[in-house]
Symmetry: C2
Subunit: 294 residues, 2 copies
Amino acid sequence: VAVPEDDASLGGALMAWRQGLIVPILVGDAGRIHEVARGLGETLDGLEIVDVAEHVAAAGRTVALVNEGRAAAIMKGHLHTGDLLAQVTKRDGGLRGTRRLSHVFVMDVPGLPHPLLVSDAGINISPDLEAKVDIVQNAIDMARAIGMAQPRVGVLSAVETVNTKIPSTVDAAVLSKMAERGQIKGGIVDGPLAMDNAIDLQAAQTKGIVSLVAGKAQVLVAPNLEAGNMMAKELTFIAHAAAAGLVLGARVPIMLTSRADDEKSRLVSCALAQLYDVWKRTGRSPVRMHEEER
Amino acid sequence: VAVPEDDASLGGALMAWRQGLIVPILVGDAGRIHEVARGLGETLDGLEIVDVAEHVAAAGRTVALVNEGRAAAIMKGHLHTGDLLAQVTKRDGGLRGTRRLSHVFVMDVPGLPHPLLVSDAGINISPDLEAKVDIVQNAIDMARAIGMAQPRVGVLSAVETVNTKIPSTVDAAVLSKMAERGQIKGGIVDGPLAMDNAIDLQAAQTKGIVSLVAGKAQVLVAPNLEAGNMMAKELTFIAHAAAAGLVLGARVPIMLTSRADDEKSRLVSCALAQLYDVWKRTGRSPVRMHEEER
């Protein structure tokens, strides 16, 4: 846990610990961490604290703990996301994998019979086609980790037809083909789709779309950060979805919980990191999801 | 009504007529229009039909009816939106006003105490700053036409702070200032805002945003077409909002009803066109909305 120096981040880490989801190593200013713990009425007995006062140095030390094989995931505390991710992505001593980093939300949407994954609502601002390949693959991996055997991925745009004036429709078509050719693995990818015909079967049928994904997408890939972010926040604040997320693409999953997240969201982020870790090591998800094939 | 040659478009026009909302002039292939009417069990007694067989010519004739002062609004029938709008925007004999065309949705969102306007979810793909000025002004005009005295406009992005790497946040800041300086008139404009802190007062307070708009926006301006379109469709298909829309910016309002629209949506589009027309001619909205100032 990088810089667990406020109530939310230290409290969240300790809560996940008591629930048996993680064993936190607290990396930050030890005096400050103890002070926050006292304020929370918590003791830190039995927990390792790595005393590093400065934020960037603490982020670097957190990354080093992973490289030393002592940590299997990273949780963001009270520091700027950019400061943490800069340490993760640095060429020398970072945690770069073969892919770009992207953020994946896993959402429980009232009325939907399955989890809905949304990406990228957090990191990539205007992803080009190569970045979108990684965004899609990271999201598929997350879906598989939570038990979706062949996740149905809808690549979204404003319309469901290719329109050369709307570049995101062209990207979507290319991503679909890349999945057909095995260049993206593990899921059924179809796009362009519009929001309605991605998630609503009747809307898909009205448009006469022949697709294994349309109307029943489990993963929604946004054309850009604004669209992804607005979609995720709308699901949360208007459709009352519960959401938790992870950053994937590095060698270990990263939990970017924010102060606005509630306790459940923090716990679910830890659970997602656990599931992803097990899936990555064993190729199997501990969750066997009840697949509702409509 | 340009090319009312399928059940949905002719039926919609006739329904609005019987409700007293419009007096349609049917511009299209007269034989085909009568045939569709027979299929619907309708007669066209008392209605003017302008017999033009070809779609583009029919769209041109529809536009000419406005220029001749015989029509005060345009309704799209069974032709491509692009074919209709090309006639509207043509330099010679079109209906160009002083602004770019943009689409405005008016939505009734369950749980929100006021209508929510969303723009642009239909026309401008990647609007630059100048186009966004017109998008905001058109949306404010629509809001005023339906009775909002000083509509609160949130200009959306992925975050609520200016980030030079996210150009839509910079545009949003500039649009806010232009409204303060009177370069955009009639509404209170604030941005950048994220989706959550635009519409959810608690989310706005958590972030400590001091704003007359945050948490209670009545108009949401999207950063690009994909984001706007996904936002509107999500509101419709997940949050179960009722929606109707207009294209503004030309000399008369344009109703772009699609086959997927239900009867209520078609009727409300006509009502919006009426309200806008009255507001534009008189400067007053026939609707006096109950303003809930939180």
